[in-house]
């Protein structure tokens, strides 16, 4: 095949997905950033012309606690998910092939189960009339009128629950490639089980840890459904505000300004990671 034909073939094959993503992913994202600088009309529409007004309102210090809460909840969720997932994938990778497949299936099923159903399951467990509350009260671990729902603890718990598979799957993929003889080597050189795990296994799957962290952290940043259903009024995240601006206030430009901020927060760690990976790969290959 000569070069020109090969190039035109490449374009023909690439164009459908490239065009689709261009029209329905890149342009909409650009529109959001643009809309952030448009004035809003009172009927939920967007007017022409440019304004700084939407950005100006973000300088209100009332936003700080919400941004802070969003970052904090996402960070704790990320940390908890990785800490729980690491020993689990370690165990999975050391199991026999049949057991490994079975465990993977067990992780995938909740992951594929409906997101709302999983939230609903926790909502009914944590409900004042629900099983968990009754159990804890029965065991005298909680006071009679304990309220497990509508607080930041519930939000955190359900966030960890829904994000855990996002941490397990990339870590599992990385640990499958890990050479477990390295752990024998570490033990042989005098490292106990704990230090073999932290000094050899964890660095060995560091790329998996990185993708797990990005995955969970980014997904958590945009979360709003969980605070909406199991959180209280003071547990709202950035996502809740965006959703309210769009549907309650019908102020698309203002929502876009918030979304643009979120987009920047999301893209920043990803750019850092991409740069780090590029650099890291070069270092390994040199």
């Amino acid at each position: 095949m000569n070069g020109a034909r090969r190039r035109s073939k490449e374009w023909v094959i690439t164009l459908p997905s490239l065009a689709w993503l261009g029209v329905f992913f890149v342009i909409p994202a650009a529109l959001v950033v643009m809309t952030a600088f448009r004035p809003a009309d009172l009927h939920g529409g967007v007017m022409s012309g440019w304004t700084w007004e939407n950005i100006e309102t973000l300088r209100d210090p009332a936003w700080l606690p919400i941004v802070w809460r969003t970052l904090w909840l996402s960070s704790v969720t990320t940390f908890a998910c990785v800490v729980l997932a690491l020993p689990m994938v370690f165990q999975m990778a050391r199991s026999g092939p049949r057991m490994r497949q079975f465990l993977l299936l067990l992780v995938v099923i909740p992951f594929l189960s409906n997101f709302l159903i999983r939230i609903f399951a926790w909502k009914s467990l944590l409900h004042p009339e629900g099983m968990l509350t009754k159990l804890l009260v029965h065991l005298h671990l909680a006071p009679e009128n304990a309220l497990l729902l509508n607080n930041s603890g519930a939000v955190l718990l359900v966030m960890i629950y829904t994000q855990l598979p996002f941490a397990i799957l990339p870590l599992y993929a990385a640990s499958e490639k890990f050479d477990f003889q390295l752990l024998d080597a570490a033990r042989d050189l005098g490292a106990g089980p704990w230090r073999s795990f932290t000094k050899v296994f964890a660095p060995g799957v560091r790329r998996g840890i990185l993708s797990a962290v990005v995955m969970v952290f980014v997904c958590s940043l945009g979360q709003y459904v969980i605070p909406q259903f199991v959180g209280g009024a003071s547990d709202e995240m950035l996502g809740n505000k965006i959703q309210q601006r769009v549907f309650a206030d019908r102020n698309l430009p203002h929502a876009s300004a918030l979304a643009a901020v979120l987009m920047a927060v999301v893209l920043l760690p990803m750019l850092v990671v991409t740069a780090w990976q590029r650099f890291g790969r070069r270092e390994d290959a040199a």
Partner: protein, 368 residues
Amino acid sequence: MDDFLVIDDVRKSFGSLRAVDGVSLSIRQGEAFSLLGPSGCGKTTLLRMLAGFEAPDSGRILIGGNDVTALLPEQRPVNTVFQNYALFPHLSVWENVAFGLRMSRRPREEIRSGVNRMLELTRLSEHSRKRPAQLSGGQRQRVAIARALVNRPQVLLLDEPLAALDLKLRQHMLVELNEIHKQVGTTFIYVTHDQGEAMSLSDRIAVMNAGRVVQVDAPEVLYETPKSSFVATFIGDANFFTGMPVELQHEGYVRVRVEGLGSPLVLGGDFVSSHEPVRIMVRPEKISLTLKRPESGDRVNAFRGVVEDSAYFGTHARYHIRAGEHVVIAQLQRSRFSGGGINPELGAEVWMSFHPDEGRVVRLEDAA
């Protein structure tokens, strides 16, 4: 000093498989010792028990008089050079070598001098900052050795240390391993399936088969006087002929009647009795070929055969010679074009002969 590393009736089963079936060995301090055998003979399991990765079902392992059977790998004064080296890919050469010293929390200064000295010994100083992925096979091997030796283990275990290298590098590392062993004086235990490797690396070799040690001896003793046909075939090539002892002679010789080859005179063994068939073993390179019957009286065993096949290997040539129902392999240690000796063609009739000292009776039952 004779019993530095003692393996005392060690057994290990995996399910119904008896991987190691009652092995006892004594290894001297500073010795270079090989566990040699085909794959599945239990040598790797034995090595893993020495390192502490597997616990024996029964038996004891003692190092310098201390029972280490119950110790974890990280607690044993033993280090391993793994077959594929198992170098930590996220650490540099220097950090790999420093790993063990860091684990035992040695002072910083001691770690530095220890690592640097070891890198010098293995000629890796200029590569100290590289990652394992940037090294050649031979360099990785040296890192693995340095990483183990820097901890001053009382015993160094080497699992198929040369298997991952190509032929040229293997010969080079063979010399280098002997050099390192001479310098550090640590007890080296090699596990290998390659008899050439075992012969050139070790003071003594334990030949293993089906979970048991079949024979322990110095390389030249194993080669010259194998006790069983298994050892004889595993170490070098051998011709075997089965026959009945017909005449036990003084000075340890025995005459054996072999169908189609007459009654050759060979070295006997104390297990030979006149009622049971025995097997005699002759190495191919000990057989000479002549066109006429050799004239050295009846102390030489000679029989006639027809050349069926020949192959030229550069340094030597091999012939398959049919004599009745036997096919005898003979190896001539000379070039095709040099003078002296014969260069028989296919189908030519030749005389094969060997001296009684070059043939010996081996046990029949151990045939592999």
